[in-house]
Amino acid sequence: MTAADGMRHTLEDLLARTADRDRRAFAELYRRTCARLFGVCLRMLREREESEEVLQEVFTTVWQRAASFEPARAGALTWLIALTRNKAIDRLRQRRERVLDDPIDLERLPDERLEPATEVESSQDYARLANCLEQLEARQRRSVREAFFSGATYKQLAERCQVPLPTMKSWIRRGLMQLRSCLES
């Protein structure tokens, strides 16, 4: 944390003050996190208008439910990103008829460059996760990553990757369990 950061309120403070109906704190929280969260919406929904609607929903929920933030369980940014992903995933599930995404060949899908594009809550957490992802078998790693960034269901992922549903489930489940043991070792 730089000296300038030290002068600022932490996101945790801002969330706590938002819970106390402090509109200035809420405005500051929006200013500090809206681009981060809008990036998450756009990545998952890939439609600007829907992303704007979801971000609006996120921040009205933050205003109404900031008191449910428990700092002991997760940092403020993690809480906000979790809320944003949940709303974006709910929105994805509401889409009934969807043109199928282009098929993906997991064997050929290049691993994206594993590096943070932005300020992270803890670069240490990111580095550990990236390191554990690296240790997964390639198809497991790619399906976990694809699932995380797309918010797609098992069924959609299996269709897009053109593999049987049980295969996709097995890749992702094994990937998740290995990630857990790697992160806890």
Partner: protein, 244 residues
């Protein structure tokens, strides 16, 4: 890394929930468990801590400026708190404009012209609408600034909004279904963007209408509540040019 890999690990569903691969029903089931069991909520939180750092790979993207205003409107924040106040957000401008309720539309157009006009400005087109309520009173006035693809909606003294309900503005082109323009307010002027579909249909044959909806807007994309105000659209021509 030698932990046995069990597909029936009870934690899996929580991990799958956080990763985002569950369908809507399975997600709802996990969310119920989280509300009923502290252990379930704690397990989900642990998976958030494990997986969410990956979001750091997603690049920041700035949302449009109007989004903050939409959030404030939905939360019914006092418009006087706005920061930083731009011209259209300046409440005094609107108070002044609202003095003569009958002449609001004209006043809006004149204000727009005076502000927007530049010596070499090409023709700037405006349209205006007075949205009347069933009792004949003016509910809102709307000015469509075609060149800048936006509509400014100013409340006069709208009636008929129940607590917890919000007014939504619609454009109804002749012979077509209503198209949502956006959420407006009963107590503050709102500027909304006009997308290409709306811009193409704004004109003397179309009508503006306000319906009563849940605070986030109609869930169906079509008006679901009572229509409490309507108004025809009059072309105001290219005033900037004609006045300058």
């Amino acid at each position: 890394m030698n932990t046995p890999l069990r597909d029936d690990d009870p934690e899996l569903r929580y991990a799958e929930y956080v990763l985002g691969v569950l369908d809507a029903d399975a997600r709802a089931a996990v969310e119920r468990e989280m509300q009923e069991s502290d252990a379930a909520a704690a397990t989900v939180a642990a998976w958030h801590r494990r997986l969410l750092p990956l979001a750091a790979e997603i690049a920041d993207r700035e949302p449009p400026m109007r989004l903050w205003q939409r959030i404030r409107t939905e939360l019914r924040f006092d418009p006087r708190d706005r920061q930083p106040p731009g011209f259209w957000e300046n409440v005094r401008v609107w108070h002044w404009l609202s003095l003569g309720a009958g002449a609001i539309a004209v006043a809006c157009i004149l204000a727009l012209v005076l502000i927007v006009r530049q010596p070499s400005a090409p023709s700037v087109t405006y349209m205006a609408s007075t949205l009347a309520q069933q009792n004949g009173n003016v509910g809102w006035t709307a000015t469509m600034d075609i060149s800048n693809a936006r509509i400014i909606v100013v409340p006069a003294a709208p009636q008929g909004l129940a607590t917890g309900r919000a007014p939504e503005l619609w454009l109804i082109p002749k012979g077509e279904k209503p198209i949502a323009v956006g959420m407006i307010a009963a107590d503050a002027p709102i500027t909304l963007p006009l997308g290409p579909a709306l811009l193409a249909r704004v004109g003397p044959t179309a009508v503006l209408a306000v319906s009563v909806e849940p605070p986030g807007g109609s869930p169906t994309g079509q008006p679901t509540g009572a229509v409490i105000a309507t108004g025809t659209i009059a072309s105001a021509g290219s005033l900037a040019t004609s006045i300058s």
